[in-house]
């Protein structure tokens, strides 16, 4: 009886997991992405003759409009990474605008930020109380907090601002931050930008937008992005917090106080939304609280967070997208927005090449058809219907998500109810 050897045993006892793809670090992805975006925009700007696409003023608008969204998105990260959905960001942001106006009116811009933060954090604390302690559905609580935020601020501003501003819907103007420019650098970049040299001028324009008339708010926001990353991914507190969002029962079994971390996360989330409110107030001229001024930015922040795959760098990119697209369509000519179609052609074209390289013929074909369609749209039209222009960022978001959604990964226990001692 001859024996046939079956395959030798696997190294492990179970089926070997698929070879691990080298994980590219987040910062590298972010850098590569940024460079790619800048290159595409620069090419578009050059080929379509639309300097506005990469002008310093466009960049500044991106910053102005993107800041509150970014801060809200960061708030979303904190909360959702601990497993708590926070649809109440809008309400917390509204509380933040009121707080910022109140604090700013009495004690100046720095206290505006602080008191906006505190008001937002109070909203967060309420959300935490309802969801963590009472186990209320996260979305209901969020909806309620949005109602409460709007109601409470209306009420308080009638009570407190109206006597000073004669207007129940406005606060009196508060002092703004001084802005800062890097004098030599800004001018030098300005000269480069004016030269209209391919790429160099574009990059100079975008950079100049970042170093000219910088508000401390921008610096605070950038610091908060970095801090969010460091705290959540590089400290034990962050590890524990994230573990609550991935598997709270496991965390509990290792002695992690899940309730505490969830509370902290949601309160921090509210605080960030409050700072977002402060950023909105301080970013307006004159700097005032004004009823209805958040205009759904909280929801957009949430979208930016999902767009950014629940990560700070990605959220920064998402907020940048909204700020950029909104700023461009508000400040540039319709032709400049139209030129974005050209960018889309370039991006889809690159996708075709990538798919061809990976020998995915059908995907490549679909992408190619898409590229041709978008190009045709670009070629045969001069402007997009202006009614849709305000929604450019929304449409771009949908397209990007349609292309990249599979790569998104929410925390495993996001939105799940959790009760101490009930896991098995």
């Amino acid at each position: 009886m001859s024996m046939i050897d079956v395959q030798p045993a696997a190294s492990g006892m179970t089926m070997t997991p698929p070879p691990r793809k080298r994980r590219i670090p987040g910062w590298a992805v972010f850098t590569i992405g940024t460079v790619a975006v800048v290159l595409v925009l620069a090419m578009t700007s050059y080929l379509t003759g639309q300097p506005a696409l990469t002008s310093s003023s466009t960049m500044q608008n991106t910053v102005t409009l993107g800041l509150p969204i970014l801060l809200c998105g960061l708030g979303g990260i904190w909360s959702e990474r601990s497993g708590m959905i926070n649809i109440g960001l809008e309400g917390m942001m509204i509380l933040g605008t009121w707080g910022a106006a109140f604090g700013g009116y009495h004690w100046g811009p720095w206290m505006a930020v602080v008191s906006g933060m505190i008001c937002g954090a109070l909203g967060g604390a309420l959300h935490a109380l309802a969801t963590v302690t009472f186990g209320v559905n996260h979305i209901v609580s969020g909806v309620a907090i949005n109602l409460l935020g709007a109601g409470v601020t209306k009420y308080l501003s009638t009570l407190i601002f109206q006597p000073i501003s004669d207007n129940p819907r406005d606060s009196p103007p508060i002092e703004q931050f001084d802005t800062f420019s890097a004098p030599g650098l800004s001018d030098w970049l300005g000269d480069l930008e004016k030269d209209q040299r391919v790429i160099i001028s574009d990059v100079a324009g975008l950079l100049r937008g970042l170093v000219t008339r910088v508000s401390p708010m921008l610096i605070i926001a950038i610091l908060l992005v970095v801090a969010t990353y460091l705290v959540l991914w590089r400290t034990r507190f962050g590890l524990r917090l994230r573990s609550c969002g991935e598997n709270p029962v496991a965390a509990e079994s290792l002695g992690v106080n899940v309730y505490f971390h969830k509370y902290m996360a949601v309160i921090a989330s509210g605080a960030l939304a409050g700072i977002a409110g402060a950023a909105l107030v301080l970013g307006s001229s004159p700097s005032i609280y004004q009823e209805g001024q958040t205009a759904n930015r909280g929801f957009i922040g949430l979208a930016a967070m999902i767009f950014g795959n629940w990560r700070p760098g990605g959220t920064l990119a998402g907020a940048g997208l909204f700020g950029y697209a909104d700023g461009l369509r508000l400040s540039a000519t319709p032709e400049a927005v139209h030129a974005l179609l050209y960018s889309a052609v370039i991006v889809v074209g690159l996708l075709v090449i990538w798919q061809l390289y990976r020998r995915k013929w059908t995907s490549a074909m679909f992408a190619a058809i898409g590229a041709i369609a978008v190009y045709a749209l670009y070629y045969f039209t001069d402007e997009l219907p202006q009614e849709f222009l305000p929604y450019t960022p929304h449409i771009i978001t949908l397209v990007v998500l349609a292309l990249a959604a599979q790569r998104l990964r929410p925390p495993a226990a996001d939105g799940m109810p959790y009760r101490r001692g009930e896991g098995d």
């Binding site: 009472f134 559905n137 309620a144 949005n146 109602l147 109601g151 009420y155």
Partner: protein, 361 residues
């Protein structure tokens, strides 16, 4: 079953007590007498057409909440009701104003158009969810915004808009397309389509509890994995439920448009979608609960005008809405926990999972 009845009554009672206490605190803190405020609000119901307005709004909220509830059963959060009902109303108004058909047929066509338009506005998020895994929350938030763009585009004067004074409206819907209401004279007119909401709630209840579709829907929401093993096609259910949710959402604007405005105008009300989400959750996605939730919401909305009369800032009403939502859900949560413990105790006793210490000896 007695225990069940007791506990199902207990939740709302506890909730009302909770909410009343919270609101009273808010009122007292703001220096008003809660009794006066409540009295004024209840008194308001007897005034003019407020009672009828409440009924009419209840119907609208019910439709919005039913739309949300369909999604919730599958753990889908359709934030897009806001956009879906806007698009549904606009397209239906355009079509309704452009055609003339005999009586009932006319407004039936309009209703179908509204539902189809609402469903179509939910189609893209549904497709993205099923084929690309895009989270419906984000895609519907985007679609809500884009709905404004579409509405602005379609109502342009070179599209379907006509200028009336400073307002822009669609072509008015001819009488054949208008749904007659119940005229109560000085008390107002109850929209005919109030019955649409009632029928929708009834159909929803039957479909959910008595049909295969409803069972599959609930099963997918409760446990997608178990549903899949039980032969439920998850992707199909996502498509169908989002589209159904969108279709019902498309109807939200209809009572007002066919019963009162007879056209889509720039003043078309917004915000029903978000209210619907809150109410669906208040009513625990249950048709009766939704009806009561809608009634409560409509009452607060319509009676809050009376607060001005007694010197209480009207903003309190919004605070009250938030407080009520929160306290109601907290109360439900507490009762649910007590229920669960009671049931487990019952099962434990019945099966004797472990004997009492005395018996062990």
């Amino acid at each position: 079953m007695n225990a069940r009845l007791r506990s199902s009554l207990m939740a709302p009672v506890l909730a009302v007590v909770f909410a009343a206490a919270l609101c009273a605190i808010v009122l007292v803190v703001s220096g008003a007498n809660p009794g006066t405020a409540l009295g004024a609000m209840i008194g308001q119901v007897g005034e003019g057409q407020v009672a009828v307005d409440i009924v009419n709004s209840t119907a609208i909220y019910m439709l919005a909440a039913l739309a949300a509830a369909i999604g919730f059963h599958m753990n889908l959060l359709n934030i897009g009701i806001e956009g879906q009902y806007r698009v549904g109303a606009l397209v239906a108004a355009i079509v309704g104003g452009a055609i003339v058909l005999p009586g009932i047929l006319h407004w039936l066509v309009i209703l179908v158009v509204a539902a189809v338009a609402g469903a179509l506005w939910a189609l893209l998020p549904a497709i993205l969810k099923v084929t690309r895994g895009v989270h419906e929350v984000i895609s519907t938030i985007m679609m809500n915004a884009i709905a404004f763009g579409l509405a602005a585009f379609l109502i342009r004067r070179d599209q379907f808009g006509i200028l009336v004074g400073n307002n822009v409206t669609t072509e008015p819907i001819p009488t054949s397309g208008q749904v007659p209401g119940i005229d109560l004279g000085g008390r107002g007119t109850i929209f005919g389509l109030v019955f649409l909401a009632v029928v929708a709630a009834a159909v929803y209840g039957v479909v959910l509890n008595r049909t295969r579709f409803g069972f599959e829907l609930k099963a997918s929401g409760l446990s997608p994995t178990a549903a899949a093993a039980g032969g439920v096609n998850a992707k199909r259910m996502i498509m169908v439920s989002l589209l159904a949710s969108g279709a019902v959402a498309g109807l939200v604007g209809m009572p007002e448009i066919l019963g009162r405005d007879h056209a889509y105008t720039l003043n078309f009300a917004s915000g029903y979608g978000f209210a619907g989400i809150g109410i669906a959750l208040l009513g625990r996605n249950n048709p009766l609960g939704i009806a009561f939730g809608s009634l409560l919401w409509a009452f607060l909305e319509k009676a809050k005008g009376a607060l001005d009369n007694v010197g209480v800032p009207k903003e309190i009403a919004t605070i009250m809405q938030g407080a009520i939502v929160l306290s109601v859900v907290v109360a439900y949560e507490i009762v649910k926990r007590m229920d669960l413990a009671a049931e487990q105790r019952r099962v434990g006793r019945a099966t004797g999972a472990a004997v009492e210490p005395e018996a062990a000896k």
